[in-house]
Symmetry: C2
Amino acid sequence: MHALQQKIREEGIVLSEQVLKVDAFLNHQIDPQLMHAIGAEFARRFEGTGVTKIVTLEASGIAPAVMTGLIMGVPVIFARKHASLTLTEHLLVAEVYSFTKQHNSMVAISPRHLGADDHVLIIDDFLANGRAAQALISIIQQAGATLAGLGIVIEKSFQAGRAELDAQGYRVESLARVSSLASGRVTFLD
Amino acid sequence: MHALQQKIREEGIVLSEQVLKVDAFLNHQIDPQLMHAIGAEFARRFEGTGVTKIVTLEASGIAPAVMTGLIMGVPVIFARKHASLTLTEHLLVAEVYSFTKQHNSMVAISPRHLGADDHVLIIDDFLANGRAAQALISIIQQAGATLAGLGIVIEKSFQAGRAELDAQGYRVESLARVSSLASGRVTFLD
């Protein structure tokens, strides 16, 4: 996706060979027009696949997910990272290790909003080691739902997440595939 | 806003006289079409006020904020509730006490994305005791920016937040004003 690659080149900051900071338009400040274009592109790629629901993870996945849901005409659920007093019922939970934050946390979805009739599209801002994606897949399986595929805004293709999802047979559509962050530069796969 | 009131009546769950659970369309599962209508209504109410940026708080404020930003054509910033390794620079911070979660937490915005030239619209999902709103106002003041007003999806008018903001002279536009949750029923102010 050209507009996204251009935005990454112009406003992304390479913090290390592992970390790309995109808080100017995705992770802290959000560019709503770009998110809408991203939603349109995910909707185009997954058109006709029978998606009934989009699942993402708070907080940075919400903006691209809700734009995709708007265009596809389906509800969005964001998995919560910690229980709150208004979300204390029986939950579908999975553990996720964050390499960025270096700790384990739980993510949860209420089974009232996800069931065996659902065909789910996962949307997330980043795919790196794939821990968040695998946790969401586990929750979708616990719900008895099926997976249409994963739509990723930025994939760090040099980390293990994409290869693992490919090996598991899941369809992954990444709008920007970063092959390297070496020498302070962003290199794309295509 | 009639469509929002109807959705609250149909899908909102009154957990106590203080707590309204709207995780079917706002706080966990999100209705993107309703969020777009909410964004259009905020854009209409704040049209011509010179808003340059929208500020919200992760996670539930993001969906209505990004739809408002899409329609108004301005960027959105979501304040983060905890620092991450990719957001460690100098930050504008404020403390917020959550009555729902019963603890203090810090919220933060990077000064790289908010400055003295900005005229800010705060968007949030709930206004109850106003702790989150006051924290965001503090951060906006620290940045030297000015406040156009606050757009609230659901206001619990029987709690202290609205009256305090009115007394401070801020413009508050709430799309659903709940006057009571007594007897397990949602009663609206208008």
